[in-house]
Amino acid sequence: MEKFDVAKTSPTMDRPSTPTTFASAPVEESAKGTADKLKLNFYLPHEVAHDEEEVDMVLVPATTGDFGILPGHVPTVSQLRPGVVSVHLNDKDVKKYFVSSGFAFVHADSTADICAIEAVPVEQLDGDAVRKGLAEHQAKFTNAKDDFEKANAQIGIDVCNAMVAALDAK
């Protein structure tokens, strides 16, 4: 380019464009390494439970087994089963939610997204109602006429069992 500046025919002539002029800045790996906090987004259709909140760890119940998300976790997408999501805000505070189902996404930049239809703090669950529901769904299961009804009852049994487990563990 120095040679171009010397040899250019008119002083107002622009330097020619090269491919690097149009290329975006190269992605540089952060020198800091992984973040020490996890950024959590926990979204429900009717509520935002956590929005870009910095937390230590999140434990989620996936269909393939429970797993914990720490900062620097490999990116994954996993389907959740009915169960308890524990959000470790810091060393002392742990928030426990019961999620009906949904998905968890982990991004490369230490961000985790959790989406669920229903998520309620475990202490908002009524033990008696859960046990009553379990008995109802079990009765529905034995009286089911077709596969669809049977599956519906099975869902009820699974969710109630998960809620009983969540309440017992508390």
């Binding site: 009906s100 189902s101 229903e118 599956a151 099975q154 969710v159």
Partner: protein, 71 residues
């Protein structure tokens, strides 16, 4: 659905349920097992209604709720 997918699929999928149906069924069970006053709040979320507004000569008329679900 292919045979291999059917073998590994969940029971609700085999029964012909979509994921949305499954997820909503799970959500409903959770909503029913809440303590008061959260139960009433959750029940209110469950309701969906259709509102209709008729436009005449470019102006909105009165809006009427035509249907409330579940009945």
């Amino acid at each position: 659905m292919s045979a291999a997918a059917k073998n590994s699929a969940a029971y609700w999928r085999i029964a012909g349920m979509s994921y949305l149906k499954y997820a909503n069924a799970c959500g409903e069970v959770v909503r029913q097992s809440l303590k008061e006053p959260f139960l009433t709040q959750a029940k209110a979320r469950e309701t969906v209604y259709y509102k209709m507004t008729k436009y005449a000569e470019g102006k909105a008329g009165q809006s009427v709720i035509t249907e409330v679900l579940p009945k």
